[in-house]
């Protein structure tokens, strides 16, 4: 489904602050995978997602999505097949527009944005029903500006909006990190439900080791721009948070030496 081939990425090239993040980095996401990605801060998780989505370009290497070489395609071309939810709940929605308008925008992804009415009042009940499944009371806030919703409500909307139209791949970057434990639990359950129901390929970065263990069929640990652990299937099922914590500690010890 997604393939990163020999990706190299440097930041601040040619200055004293030069950081080499990826050096011939390779990564493959199979169709139907639900991958949890963990790793310390600065290990390159967000940058990997950015390179996949085309938010930033790699210095060299190839990005292949769905069998097509997308290396030189702009981000908006890639999002035709990809949905994305960001760590910051504000990034996935338009704060100055109301819930109905945001849902309508997302509903029109992949279609023409022409001169017909921006909102389809006939679909109001459909949107309400969809929002109702979240259990966050959003169905009664159709005409409230999204900017005045709570972070959890906004993030839940971002999630719904990102999967509203047919996509193949869902990219999640610490999408529960900014939420309180209860809301983040709700969002995580909805995420799992959507991924399973729709048969999506999902790539989820998380700092929550329990989520990483509990959800998905594959677990990847990144460190300094490399994959240092990649378990799938049965192997992954046998992992527990204790073992992951231990691996984290081992890395830190290695760094200390």
């Amino acid at each position: 489904m997604i393939q990163l081939c020999d990706i190299c990425k440097k930041f601040n090239s040619g200055t004293v602050n030069e950081t080499v993040l990826f050096n011939n980095f390779n990564f493959k996401v199979n169709k139907g995978d639900f991958i949890s990605v963990i790793g310390s801060n600065g290990s390159g998780k967000t940058t990997m997602l950015n390179i996949i989505c085309g938010t930033i370009g790699a210095d060299s290497g190839k990005v292949i999505i769905g069998g097509h070489d997308m290396t030189h395609k702009p981000d908006y071309e890639r999002y035709k097949k990809i949905g994305r939810v960001y760590q910051n709940p504000a990034l996935g929605t338009c704060g100055d527009m109301n819930v109905l308008e945001n849902m309508s925008l997302a509903d029109n992804k992949g279609k023409r944005f022409g001169f017909s009415s921006g909102v389809n009042k006939k679909k109001l009940d459909y949107y309400r029903e969809m929002l109702g499944t979240l259990g966050l009371g959003l169905e009664d806030k159709m005409f409230v500006k999204v900017g005045s919703l709570s972070g959890g409500q906004r993030q839940a909307m971002s999630l719904l909006m990102s999967v509203m139209t047919p996509i193949e791949c869902l990219i999640l970057d610490e999408h529960t990190a900014a939420l309180d434990p209860k809301t983040s639990e709700i969002i995580m359950r909805i995420t799992d439900k959507i991924v399973k129901e729709r048969g999506l390929t999902a790539l989820m970065v998380t700092h929550n080791l329990r989520y990483a263990v509990e959800y998905g069929n594959r677990l990847v640990m990144m460190h300094e721009g490399k994959c240092i652990m990649d378990h799938a299937g049965k192997e992954k099922e046998n992992l527990d948070t204790q073992a992951l914590l231990k691996t984290f500690e081992d890395i830190s010890v290695e760094l200390g030496n």
Binding site: Y79, E101, L105, S117, G118, S148
Partner: protein
């Protein structure tokens, strides 16, 4: 001050309101400080003066101005988006280029009168409707004295309704989303750069139409007509949105139009009291005042009653 001055200010304010609608799109919706305005405003005037002098229809001149303005805004957008030049600089480049373009359009003259020709304010239709001239014994009591105002307000309302309809369309939503959060536009698999270019093109169409009306109203085009127009438009948008935009049931476009009329009235009043040499100084101080007052949270003065609020 007499009633004539008041009507004059209202006329001018309503003409500037058309421009302010355009600047509302760039400045308020797209968050793009577009200096193209000082070039696309006189562009509308130049095109109009040239067409009317060639015997063209004044309404057709307005349409041609709109097309010319669209093209100017489109080019500013291309310079900014495709050539990756900063927003302010893109506008300055277009504004500078347009000066020469306007110069060429009017046949390399500093001014081009349209006196004695039909304009949208004075043609067989308006002469039938409003009469040939004001009655001498009853100044400002005949419809004739309001013919410019009525004409401009009709144009203004039509354009406002068109803009409101557009902003409610799918394409309008995309424009709003672009100013609000470009990330969303990208994830919708849409080229945000093109959306920006579209916004600039539409905005400058409004500005050029305003310039066309301005030229027909003054019956002369001056090459310098564009100077300071961006400031007027910006002040109109800021006054409109900050004061009237907060009131429930007043659409932003209506607020911007009221802002244009009020700012023009203030400037006209102020300038009437000062000698010509310090006019620009007074304008600058007025604009500064608008900007400073614009920062005051009017919501805290209990003017605000907007549903949902706009916390960010």
């Amino acid at each position: 001050m007499n009633l004539e001055t008041v009507i004059g200010a209202l006329n001018l304010g309503s003409i500037y309101a058309v421009m302010a609608l355009g600047i509302y799109i760039t400045y308020k919706i797209l968050d793009f400080p577009d200096l193209t305005v000082d070039g696309s405003f006189p562009l509308g005037g130049a095109v109009t003066a040239a067409i009317i002098n060639a015997g063209g229809n004044p309404a057709a001149a307005i349409a041609a101005s709109a097309i010319a303005g669209t093209f100017a805004g489109f080019l500013t957008g291309v310079i900014h988006v495709k050539l990756k030049i900063r927003d302010l600089l893109s506008g300055i480049i277009m504004m500078t280029a347009l000066y020469s373009v306007n110069f060429i359009i009017v046949g390399s003259k500093a001014s081009l009168p349209v006196t004695g020709k039909d304009t949208v304010f004075s043609n067989s239709f308006t002469r039938n409707l409003f009469g040939e001239k004001a009655s001498d014994n009853a100044p400002l009591h005949s419809l004739f004295d309001f013919k410019e105002l009525i004409t401009v307000v009709i144009f203004l309302i039509v354009l406002k309704v068109l803009l409101d309809l557009f902003m409610k369309s799918k394409r309008g939503y995309l424009l709003k989303a672009m100013g609000d959060n470009p990330t969303v536009v990208a994830t919708l698999a849409k080229n945000g750069g093109n959306v920006k270019i579209m916004g600039l093109a539409i905005a400058n169409a409004f500005v050029s139409v305003s310039g066309s009306l301005f030229c027909q109203y003054n019956k002369t085009f001056f090459l310098t007509d564009g100077t300071g127009k961006m400031v007027i438009g910006l002040a109109a948008v800021i006054i409109g949105i900050n004061i009237f935009g907060k009131i429930r049931h007043i659409a932003s476009t209506t607020a911007v139009m009221i802002g244009a009329v009020i700012y023009t009235a203030c400037v006209t009043l102020a300038l009437a009291k000062f000698p010509a040499n310090i006019m620009k100084l007074v304008t600058a101080v007025l604009f500064l005042l608008v900007l400073v007052l614009g920062q005051v949270k009017i919501g805290t003065l209990n003017f605000s009653s907007k549903k949902g609020g706009d916390k960010k």
